[in-house]
């Protein structure tokens, strides 16, 4: 026992001595996969001898929490994730330092979306669009047609073959959902979303769960950010990826943490990621992201999409302020009416599709009416467009300090959404069953 204790103390002291040695390093908090971070680490370290890149990989929400809770004397240096909202949260809490872009060549906007933060707290480092990926073997085995547009995924043939994540769990899914909402409008957008979700085999907890499930054939089709789809194809999986016409291109960002321990090194690293050399790393088949520097596309591999030529035609001019203003409403509404009620929603869709199939063989006017009503019940959002613009309503979700009063209000709303959705889905099943029995 005493020996063990001594060994432990020796180990502790040795480690302290080791840690006390000063070294040129830069600490990066990121949610990006290892392929990407390793490539940058290797390239940066070989370019800058004597420097060490320390990568801390955390899911975005945990990364935000980590930066917030880190002691002032030991703040990490760089924050590097996709979701702009995470940067907004950090910059609102004054946890980011201002930074000047080293790459003057980067256009101010992609579509309507500013590539760099107009307030100067973070920079776009790569671009990403949203789309649909599918497993070709799965579609062939289940005799399904290849989808092209979001609207295709609302069709009954795809019932229980689709998968998506939830906007509250994944920044990229939030952007996809928001893209659809902005492209189609609130009511129609939610209708489409509810129908797609009803066709899902699962609402996955991590955004990576979707491409992973499509790759191994667990799901046929997935709603994903482009690099998941492109990287899967490049890695040899039997998958394909398309950008639907309703898509938006938004930047994945990088920023410097306020009070960073190694601020100078942080700047050096960020500059590297935006240099032509750093941007070209994105073309690696295992990374497959779109650079923000238009000039490097000259060196892109064949068939690589270029967002600056207009080859991808994003119909949606993504409004980030609108997205930001209703962030929590959209996430929470999605979870309470879709994620947590997915079983009931899918049951409603199944009943409706079955009744429709019957009705197609044996038309019946009354049954048709019932089905229209069932569809309206199942696929209408419980929050109307008017309400979604209400300033007081939105403010309720934005405040972070939670008093007992506010918590009560919020949980009251959640309960209302959740129980209304459940009632609607159950009623839709009843109506669809009635319609089916009429068509007998």
């Amino acid at each position: 026992m005493r020996l063990m204790f001594r060994c432990l103390m020796a180990a502790i002291l040795a480690l302290c001595g080791f840690a006390a040695q000063a070294q040129q390093q830069v600490v990066i908090v990121t949610s990006f996969p290892k392929e990407l971070t390793e490539a940058y680490k290797k390239a940066f370290e070989s370019r800058n001898p004597g420097f060490r890149v320390e990568i801390l990989n955390k899911p975005t929400p945990a990364g935000v929490a980590y930066i917030r809770e880190a002691p002032a004397a030991n703040k990490p240096d760089v924050f590097w994730v996709s979701a702009p909202d995470a940067f907004e949260v950090l910059s609102a809490e004054k946890l980011l330092a201002k930074i000047e872009s080293p790459a003057k060549e980067v256009p101010a906007k992609i579509g309507n979306y500013p590539i760099n933060d107009p307030k100067g707290f973070y920079l776009g480092q790569a671009l990403a669009g949203y789309g649909i990926m599918w497993n070709t073997r799965y579609l062939a085995a289940n005799k399904l047609p290849e989808p092209r547009e979001w609207a295709d995924l609302t069709k009954p043939v795809y019932f229980s073959h689709v998968s998506m994540s939830s906007p509250s769990r994944s920044g990229t899914t939030h952007l996809t959902v928001e893209t659809i909402l902005q492209g189609e409008g609130w009511e129609k957008g939610w209708q489409q979303m509810l129908m797609i979700a009803a066709n899902c085999a699962a609402i996955t907890e991590r955004s990576f769960g979707v491409p992973d499930g499509v790759n191994n054939g667990q799901y046929g089709i997935g709603l994903v950010i482009d690099f998941f789809g492109l990287a899967a194809m490049a890695s040899g999986f039997p998958t394909k990826f398309v950008y639907p016409s309703v898509t938006a291109i938004v930047p994945a960002n990088i920023g410097m943490v306020a009070g960073a321990k190694n601020a100078e090194n942080a700047r050096r690293f960020i500059n590297f990621t935006l240099s032509p050399e750093g941007q070209e790393l994105l073309f690696d088949p295992k990374i497959s992201r779109l650079p923000v520097l238009p000039s490097v596309y000259k060196k892109a591999p064949a068939g690589f999409p270029n967002p600056f030529t207009g080859k991808i035609k994003p119909k949606v001019n993504f409004d980030s302020e609108l997205s930001e203003s209703r962030y929590y409403v959209v996430s929470s509404l999605f979870d309470h009416t879709i994620t947590f009620r997915h079983k009931e929603l899918a049951a409603a869709a199944r009943a409706i599709y079955q009744a429709e199939a019957r009705l197609a063989a044996k038309p019946n006017a009354r049954a048709k009416e019932l089905l229209t009503e069932a569809r309206a019940l199942a696929f209408t959002p419980v929050v109307g467009e008017q309400k979604s613009k209400d300033k007081d309503f939105l403010a309720l979700f934005r405040e972070t300090k939670r008093s007992a009063q506010k918590t009560k209000q919020l949980t009251g709303l959640e309960e209302y959404w959740s129980s209304t959705a459940r009632k609607n889905y159950a009623r839709a099943v009843e109506l669809a069953n009635q319609a089916a029995s009429l068509a007998r």
């Binding site: 002291l13 840690a19 392929e35 790759n215 191994n216 949980t411």
Partner: protein
Amino acid sequence: MGRGGAALAHSGIARAMTGRFTFVHAAIALLIALFLLVFLAIPVFTVIYVAFTNADGSLTLSHFQSFFHLTLMRESFYNSLVVGGMSVAVSSVFALPLAYFISRFQFRGAILIQTLGVLPLIMPPFVGATAMQLLFGRSGSLNLILGDWFGINLPIMEGLNAVIWVEALHYFPFILLNLTVALNNIDRAMEESAQNLGASGFRLFRRIVFPLAMPGYMAGAALVFLKVFDDVATPLVLNVTNILAAQAYLRITSIGIDDPIGYVASVIMVAASVFALWGSTLVMRGKEYATLQRGGSTLATQRLKPWQAAIAYGWIVFVLLLVLSPHIGLLLLSFSRIWSFTVIPEAYTLQNYVTVFRESSFMLWNSALYCGIAAGLDVLIGTAIAYLMLRTRLPGRQTLDFIATSAVAIPGVVLGIGFLRTFRDFSVPLADVPLVSFWLIIAFAYTVRRLPYALRSCVASLQQVHVSMEEAAQTLGAGGRRTVTRIVVPLMAGGILAGFVTSFLTAAVELSATIMLVSATSDAPVSYGIYLYMQSIAGRGPGAALGVIAVTLVALGTYVSYRVLHSRNLRFEAHQAMK
């Protein structure tokens, strides 16, 4: 228990043994209390007080009202209870026959079974669930074959059933380990007497053997329930969100770290877990489990009749195949380049192992170091608390047990955030490193989180040591310390080892607190490494390879530790036989 114990009249000793405590006992208790205060109570308190406070800092119970107003939360609570209970039931179906076969019959490869039975524990549940999806999922190997041959698809991996199925396969070793130790510790004379009186077969098991092994079974069952109740990763990998732990996690990580409902859910999980533990002790209250003679040396294990052997081996092979299925899946994945919608991978490679050895072998050392420290501290503290609880009347000993056990109900995320908040303003002595960024913090987090397992094992094994053993030692003049080190600890060795192994294994797969606490990749343990790899499309193979290496190493370690214990027992028996 000073030397004076020996001088006491024999009849008085029993009361004296359990009625006294000394300065040393109190000092040890204080040390443990201090450890638990700093590394459990304070961090958790800094987090969960949110559940009880208003925005202005005043105390309120309103959040609890809001919580129970939510149908979703009530439903999740109910689902959690169902999943916990059903997992215990299914785990028992796997574990009971195995434990009985191992301990009561002459059996080739009993050690192998025990080692294999431990294997599920070393695999992080989220990895196990991923591997099981590949085999049993909707497009898994099994369903692809069934679809080809019969055109059917079994929904094995859907909804709550999937969670129960994966959890039971993952956690049944808790019951197996504890029950096997308990069965081996039963006095065979009890069974012999019953057999002389005409009981045999199932009746013997139901009326004599199982009741006597009850402390071990309850210890295991309670652990399974608590563990399943608290598990976040498995339901989430299976995309099941209507479960309390998942709701707490989702609220804290997505709505925000300041959302009180998430903390209320945590508090309710703590309460439910404590209630379950209390229930399990209630079942055993007022019963005497200690038997005088230790098993193993009196009666030779029975020989199996051929038909019995057929049944036994059949069941064992069946269970082992199920248990090993995630490992088989992982093994295939680790050698695969592309595995998509086919029964087995279509292209194989060794590259995944090369990648892991080049990039991540240091993680194995980290895991061994952290988990070794954690499991060592756990059995040390566990044995001490068990002794204080069962052999002294030290005031507050039940509170120690209660606090140490409650750690099982603290979600890893909550403990992680608590650690970050509590230790961020302190730095390591002699160095300019903040305490939160120091690797030892991870080891301490493991110690706290896995302490309940070691503690249960230690308590169960001490419950089976009859106090008269110590009385005898004291009568022969052994002092308090000598009695503990020469008599109590050796007699508890099986339980202590089981505790060490469970703590070590489960610490090695800990992820939720690890994610919060790892502050440098060079300090990262294996579980974090697997998680990292599994996050990327090209990385699932290396992740699986890392998992396979870790599983293999730990299986070897477990096997060796059982061999050591077994040969020690043999020597002990031989020694006695010579006398």
